[in-house]
Subunit: 243 residues, 2 copies
């Protein structure tokens, strides 16, 4: 088992021990790409102690300032939550998601995204993921330790990858995180320009669009087409396109 | 999910933090019966800290002196190892084992048995289990943290229990750990009495029988029949049966 194109992204982790234990969990399942979004304490000796044989995964971990930055080269990002909430995408179990994760990893980079120990992923963070996955757990106490959740997720993905015969590459290359974010920025500015979106009272409009397009898992050519359309609208509205 | 008849048995655990984290892992999957065989340090504040919402599982954990004692009321014991070794039973993956575990839990008590962090389960400990299970992992680094292994095992069992419609009870009640141990003690004394087993050079004979009968998952009536047979042999050999 070796899954170099599947990254684990830990956002705003509080306890360095959990980072180390997550590195170990990844290593046991053949994953090696660890990305840390604004960790509270890192590097830290406690992370090293708990990484054990996953020390190399920890050593090569990348620290980034924002989730957007962590996902910039990913063609599929899967956010993990303990339960669905609000407007969120319909959550599937990690076992249900695993085949799609493995298939996407053959096309480009995938991210498994985990939030802070106490608060989980925020709605904004979930909005940057194209899929939401849950680990089935007891209603009486659904709180898996962060590294334990990483272990189960990597385990499911590793098992699915063993079962998976790589499919033919998609005819149409998928959009990257950067492509998708450029689209959302463009969409937002266009909607503001149109008066449809009031920047002082944005409500859930962008969130809704993020989820719609997230569910669709955009292709690069589609992003281009959508942005071309927005350009055309903007031109007609008599406003230069914002870069 | 609630799986009261499935126990987790941790044998000779070195680090109390792992005991606490295992209690938490169990609780997230609806398990509550934790048994500790000769833990190095317990109770311990580190176990409490890592148990988090699984504190009640930790509080009600039972400490016993031997694995035999932990398994005395179990009708199926499943030992977890990182890899097969020596004479061991053919190991199945935990996913393959999970339906049988859930089915057995409807008949009586089941144990998921985990060894020491460094050395795993000894051959003697594995010999007291009727099944050997592995968690598939990377050949480069197969060492899951103990609590992470407990998490994956409980997760697989919990998922299988959700999928499982309880089967009709077996016509023949299964033997408990106590029944089976009484048989092995009886078998050993009989073989010694017969001269077939040299207590000074026992070799792997008992181990072999343990695995044979373990694979079979004995019924209570079968134990009775086997012991009756041994009684008859002993009588013929002119030696009173050992109690």
């Amino acid at each position: 088992m070796s899954l170099p194109s599947i990254a684990v992204v830990l956002s705003r982790t509080s306890h360095p021990g959990n980072i180390g234990a997550a590195a170990r969990a990844m290593k046991t399942m053949g994953l090696s790409d660890l990305r840390l979004v604004a960790p509270r304490r890192f590097p830290d000796p406690e992370a090293v102690a708990l990484a054990a044989g996953g020390a190399d995964v920890l050593d090569s971990a990348r620290v980034v300032a924002s989730l957007e930055e962590a996902l910039v080269d990913r063609v599929l990002s899967v956010g993990f939550t303990a339960r669905g909430r609000g407007l969120s995408l319909p959550a599937a179990t990690v076992r249900e998601c695993a085949p799609e994760i493995v298939a996407a990893a053959a096309e480009g980079g995938v991210a498994l995204v985990f939030g802070n120990e106490t608060s989980g992923l925020s709605n904004d963070e979930l909005g940057r993921c194209q899929r939401v996955a849950t680990i089935p757990s007891s209603a009486a106490y659904p709180s898996l330790n962060l590294a334990a959740a990483v272990q189960v997720a990597c385990y499911e993905v590793a098992l699915a990858s063993e079962a998976h015969a790589p499919a033919a590459a998609r005819a149409h290359p998928p959009a990257t995180g950067k492509d998708v974010e450029s689209l959302f920025a463009h969409l937002e500015s266009s909607m503001i320009a149109s008066g449809y979106l009031d920047p002082k009272r944005p409500g859930k409009l962008m969130e809704r669009f993020r989820r719609l397009f997230g569910r669709a898992r955009l292709e690069r050519a589609e992003v281009k087409a959508l942005r071309g359309m927005l350009d055309a609208f903007e031109k007609k509205m008599g406003r230069a396109r914002r870069r």
